[in-house]
């Protein structure tokens, strides 16, 4: 009885000490994974994922507390890339992907207050005070942080218009 208690205690203590020492010698600074994820994210720190900036989201995704699909501006492309990196399988079809969206200014409603251009993470909104603003289509990430700031609801999110250059042949129906 005593031999059993003693040997188990000793064994546990010995293994614990070994692991403790090993942990000291084999400690790794930071998480290289998070840095790689940050490099993949849009980097606009729009906050739509609910984390403080892209680095916050990257560490949350890395430790598993957030899904790889949490980044709306990154869309399906980013989600698939992150999932491949982490070796996860994610259900991309569940992702609300009614296509990428961009902000559009309703010119008759805009009063030129400049509140939207101040919050835009990519400086995609053009316009001076008391002048009608406009969104530079190519630079808008569709983060929608400007939409809430607009006092006249002149900013709305609209799907990116499909042009001949963007059109993709639909996938054939399954046999």
């Amino acid at each position: 009885m005593i031999a059993a208690i003693l040997s188990l205690t000793l064994l546990g203590a010995a293994l614990g000490i070994i692991l403790g020492v090993a942990n000291k010698f084999l400690a790794v600074e930071g998480n290289p994974l998070v840095d790689e994820l940050i490099a993949m994210m849009p980097g606009s720190n729009c906050g739509q994922c609910g984390f403080p900036g892209c680095s916050g989201a990257a560490s949350a995704i890395a430790d598993g507390s957030a899904a790889p699909t949490c980044c709306p501006p990154g869309g399906k492309t980013l989600a698939a890339a992150i999932a491949a990196k982490l070796g996860l399988t994610v259900d991309l079809s569940a992702m609300a992907d009614d296509g990428p969206k961009i902000a559009v200014v309703a010119e008759e409603l805009c009063i030129g207050c400049c509140r939207c251009s101040k919050v835009c993470p990519t400086d995609a909104i053009i316009g001076a005070a008391k002048q009608v603003h406009n969104v530079f289509r190519e630079a808008c990430t569709g983060c929608s942080s400007c939409v809430e700031k607009c006092p006249t609801e002149a900013l709305v999110m609209k799907p990116v218009p499909v042009t001949l250059q963007h059109w993709v042949m639909p996938r054939p129906a399954l046999a």
Partner: protein
Amino acid sequence: MGFMNLFKHFLADDWGVHPDDRKRPAADQPVRVMPVPARLYLPLQQHLGGPARAVVLVGQKVRKGELIAEAQGMVSAPIHAPTSGTIAAVTEITAPHPSGLTLPAIILDADGADEWCELYGCDDPFALAPAEVGLRVAAAGVVGLGGAAFPSAVKLNGAAKAKVTTLVINGGECEPYLSCDDRLMRDRAADIVDGIRIMLHATGAGVALVGIEDNKPEAIAAMQAAVAGCDTVQIRPVPARYPMGSEKQLIQVLTGHEVPADGRAFDVGVVVHNVGTALAVRAAIREGKPLIARLVTVNGNCAAAPGNIEVRVGTLAEEVIAFAGGLKGDGIGLARRVMGGPMMGLQIPHWRVPVVKGTSGILAFDTAEVAEQEPNPCIRCGSCVKACPMGLLPLEMSARIRNEAYGEAIDIGLKDCIACGCCAYVCPSKIPLVQYFVHAKGELAAQDRAKLRTEATKKLALQRQERLEREAREKAEAAARRKAEREAAAAAKAAASAAPASAGEVA
């Protein structure tokens, strides 16, 4: 002759398909010239590359051959007025494209005079510098007339720079139903050979090989008669087989060189041009005429009078068909409208789309020709593997694409697919294989665009971050400077008020 060569030899004879060519009787009808319609619709993008930019105003009068849209960017082509008239609008029209989306276009109302602007031809093209020939061809808006509509001048100049040795002239016209190139070679063989010789001069290539499929004996005879006594242009009949007219296949058959997977024709010292392009180059150099008209084959079971028609670019397909004799039974039984060839052409949503520079055919198919069938499961017979001219595995690629595993599809050669449609043609289960590949390529291009976009916005976000920091820093510096100035002023004031007092003390 190693084992691999033997292996290749056995493989080489197998690719492609032999569809019923259905070129006659349309090919045997003489060319009809269609009068200029009342209104022409000229898309600003009729070529591969950047769209042209309109340089005319609404209401402006233009003469035939006048520049109405200029090229933008390295790979682009200008557009000229196909007839004299007034610019009615610059607006969006339905594109000759299966999506049915619109694209910007110039609408021109013809005045009926059809009066040329001044043309600057050249009597001795061989006295021109090769680069000058390229410039003139570029200015005339000549694009590849085989279907892809790649700006010809880019290829001519590139070929001169890449020091190609062989100019391959594509008279294959392997697509069934089409016969416009056949007709051109029969009727205008001498002019084509003249064009080829100008192209030889422009590219610096030593020899031109004209590949013509052996199902066009009249064209071969006409061309052979035209080259008699000219040893730099050789007529080479090739076996009729689809897709013989594809660049990589034709090069391999004519020169024996295989274009590498991620390479271009230049890499094996070859440049390929269509016979129609040779004619357009000749017109551009000898007569200074821009590309404003082309030969279009109207064919298909629904076409009442199939044949080849010379049409001004910008004419609506509807009017071309009406001129050609209309549709049988006013279009009852029409199952599919196609622009281009039946294998690689574009299905169009309705007839009110214009003929563009790359339109080789207008085809009206009935249900018997379309023969749409429900696809059945793949039985792994390997017919598609045998038919694929690029030596790919269509069944494996489509299975991966169906599972959205595009990366794996690329690993087994999706990027080498030329979308010729041989696989779908031979599939006994009627699986739309080529549609899968076109879809996947579009999807991959969209993903690439998304990636580029993310990178660009990331840069913007970084710049904004830097700007905000700089502004904050400048603000803080300015505040510190003001504070220092205030303090200095206060100190000076205190010193000034203290000075008289001390002076008084001394006194």
